[in-house]
C-alpha cells in the first residue's frame, strides 16, 4: 500500500475515466435524477409557471387509463417479442453455423433487418399489413380468407407490431449466438458424436447449456429493446387504434412533445426507469454468473 504504483493507479485511473464519466453523468445520471425531481412539479407554460405538487402527477398517473393500457401493452409486447426472437435467433445461428447450401446468402438474409432503419421499413410493413391491397391480404386471399384489417383491429394490431419487432431483432441476436457457437471447441461436438448423441440430444444437453451466458446477455438486450423499440409506431399505428398498440416510451413521447406536459412525461419516465432498474439487478446477477462460468 502507498507505493509509487498505488499513487499512479489513483491518478491515472481517474484521469482516464474522467472524460467518459463527465458525459455519462451529464446525459445519464443527472437526467435520471432530474427526471425524478421534475415528476414532483407541475408543467409550466408561459402563462402558468411550474410549481411543486408533490405526488399529484403520480396520482394522476394511477388514474390515467391510457397509462395502464400502455403498461399492459408493453408487458405483452415483451412477452411476445423476447422468447420468440431469442428462439428464432438460436435456430438461425445453428443453421448458419453448419454446412448449408448458400450459407452466405442465408446469413446475410437473416442479418439484413439489423441494417435497415426501423423507420424506413415500417412503411413497407405498412404495405404488408394494409387491408385489401396489402401483401398479407393478397396472400391470404389466395387461400380463401377474408380481408383482415390487421392494424385497424385492436385484437391484431399489437401482434403485428410484435412480428415486425421479432423480424428486426432476431438477426441481430443471431450474430451473438453465432459467435458463441463458433467459439465452442469443435472437439466437444466430436466427443458427442463418438458417444452417439443425436443432434437433438446434443443440443439440449451440451450446446444450449453452454450458450447460457450468451442467452442471458441476449435476453437482457431483448428486454431493454422491448422498452425502447418504438420507432415503427410512428409510421404504423401512432399507438392506435385507441392505444391498442401504444407502448410506454411512445406515450412518453406523446405526452412530452404532443401535449407539452413535461412533468407528466417525467413521471412516466420514472416508472420506466424503475422497470429498467429491476432488469438491471437481474443483469448484474447474470453477468456475475457469466464470469463465474469461465
Amino acid at each position: 500500500m502507498g507505493g509509487p504504483r498505488f499513487i499512479k493507479n489513483q491518478v491515472y485511473g481517474w484521469l482516464l475515466l474522467m472524460p467518459a464519466a463527465t458525459l455519462l453523468v451529464a446525459f445519464t445520471h443527472y437526467p435520471a435524477v432530474a427526471t425524478l425531481l421534475q415528476s414532483f412539479f407541475s408543467s409550466g407554460t408561459a402563462r402558468r409557471p411550474s410549481k411543486f405538487v408533490g405526488l399529484d402527477n403520480y396520482a394522476y398517473m394511477l388514474e390515467d387509463p391510457v397509462f395502464w393500457k400502455v403498461l399492459t401493452n408493453n408487458l405483452w409486447y415483451a412477452v411476445g417479442t423476447i422468447p420468440t426472437s431469442v428462439a428464432i435467433a438460436i435456430l438461425m445461428a445453428l443453421w448458419v453455423n453448419e454446412r448449408l447450401p448458400l450459407r452466405g446468402v442465408v446469413r446475410m438474409a437473416y442479418f439484413t433487418p439489423t441494417v435497415l432503419p426501423m423507420i424506413a421499413v415500417a412503411n413497407i410493413w405498412l404495405f404488408f399489413y394494409s387491408p385489401d391491397i396489402g401483401l398479407l391480404d393478397q396472400v391470404t386471399r389466395v387461400f380463401g380468407f377474408h380481408s383482415q384489417n390487421w392494424l385497424g383491429d385492436p385484437d391484431t394490431v399489437l401482434a403485428c407490431i410484435i412480428v415486425m419487432t421479432v423480424w428486426k431483432e432476431a438477426g441481430f441476436f443471431m450474430i451473438f449466438y453465432l459467435a458463441a457457437l463458433q467459439s465452442l471447441p469443435h472437439e466437444l461436438e466430436e466427443a458427442g458424436r463418438l458417444e452417439g448423441a443425436s443432434r437433438w440430444y446434443f443440443f439440449w444437453r451440451v450446446t444450449f447449456p453452454l450458450l447460457m451466458p450468451t442467452t442471458l446477455f441476449v435476453l437482457i438486450n431483448a428486454v431493454i429493446n422491448s422498452f425502447k423499440l418504438v420507432d415503427h409506431l410512428f409510421i404504423l399505428t401512432k399507438g392506435g387504434p385507441d392505444n391498442a398498440s401504444s407502448l410506454l416510451l411512445y406515450y412518453i413521447y406523446e405526452v412530452a412533445f404532443s401535449f407539452f406536459d413535461q412533468s407528466y412525461a417525467s413521471t412516466l419516465t420514472v416508472v420506466l426507469l424503475l422497470l429498467l432498474a429491476l432488469i438491471a439487478v437481474g443483469k448484474f446477477t447474470a453477468l456475475d454468473k457469466r464470469i463465474h462460468y469461465r
Binding site: I133, R141, S147, D153, G240, E254, F257, S258, F259, D261
Partner: protein, 403 residues
Amino acid sequence: KTELTMYYPVAVGGPLTEVVDKLVADFEAENPDIDVNAIYAGNYNDARIKALAALKSGEPAQLAVMFSIDIYELIEQDAIIAFDDIVSSEEDKAWLKGFYPALMENGITDDKTWGIPFQRSTIVMYYNKDAFREAGLDPENPPQTWDELASMGKKLVKKAGDGTVERWGAMIPSTGYPYWMFGALTKQNGQVLMSGDGATTFFDAPATIEALEYWKGLGSEMGVMPEGTIEWGTLRQNFLEGKTAIMWHSTGNLTAVKDNASFDFGVAMLPSKVSRGTPTGGGNFYIFKDTSEAEQQAALKLIKFLTQPERTAEWSIKTGYIGTRPDAYETDKLKNYVVEFPPAAVARDQLEFATAELSTYQTGRVRKLLDDAIQAALTGSKSPTEALTEAQKAADGLLRRYR
C-alpha cells in the same frame, strides 16, 4: 438582408414540397432583400413540435404554417402574435378581411386574428363513377343524405364468389385525424364539438353520440365499410386501386387523386342528416412573437405574397386546397380550371356549411381523448355512448380551469 425561417407541414398526397419551394423562390426573386428558408417538417403534429422546439432552443423560426387549430396551444405557450398588432396600413387591413369567413373561424379568438388561412380544406366525398355505373347507380347523382350513403353504399359493395369483399362501398378514415371526420358527421347532425372559446366540448351530446353510432353502423351493421379503423395514409391508395367506391378525404388530395386515378371519378359535398356539414381543416400562417420588427414585416410580406389571388389560385390548382379568398376564384386561371374540372370548386362551395375544426385549450390531449373514443367505438371495444361519455368527462377535467 432579412432571413426568414418557415416551417410547414404536409398531410396530403402529391409533390407539395416542390410547389412550396417554387412559390418561395418566386417570392425571393421579387424580394431580393429577404431570404426565406422553408422547412418541410412532416405532418401537422411534427411541424408544431419542431416549431415550438426551435422556439425554446433560442433559434426560433419567424413564421410557420401550422394546424389552424393549434391556436390555443400557441397562445397558451405565448408563442405567437396577433396580426392585428402588426397590420398597420389600410390596404393590409382590407387584405385581412378578404378571406372566406369560414376559414377565419379557427384563426380568430379574443377578437384578434392570429392565423391567416393558407392550405385550407374541407372534407369532400370522392367517388368512383365506374363503380357507380357497375352497381347500376347514376354516376352523376352521388348520395345526398346519410340514408342514401348507406343504401347506395350497400349496393356498391362487390363480393367475390366466396364472400370475400373485393370492393367496399365507402371508407371514412379513422386514423390520423378521426376527430376531423367526426366533426363533419356531427355538424351534419346539427351539433358542433366545442364552444367558441375553446373551453367546453360537447362530446356526449345526444346528436354527437348518434353521429358516432351512424359511423360505426356503416361498418358493423350495414357492411358498407370495413370494420375497425381505416388508415388515413393508405386510403387514397385504396381508392385509386378500386378497393372502395367512395372515400371521404381532404380536398387537399384532389390533385393527387386526379393525377393518379385510372378511372372516372367524381367529387361531391358530404351528405346531410339535418344539414350538410364539414369542418374546415388544414394550416394557417402564424408569426412568432420572438421576432424583430423587421422580421415581422418581412414575414407579413411573405404571407401576403403567398395569399395573392394569383398564387392562391395556383396553389389551389396544384393541390386541391381551397382558394382561401373569393378573389382567387375571379382569376382567369382558376375560373377556367373550375370550368374544365368542376370538382375543384366543391370544397369551396361547401364552405357555406362549414364549421370550425375541433380546437380547445390542451388541444393535443383533448383531441386524443376524442380520437381514442372514436377508435374505441369503431373497433367495438366500447359502445359509442360509453366511449363519448368517458371522453367528455375527461375533457371536462382538463378544461375546467380554462373556463
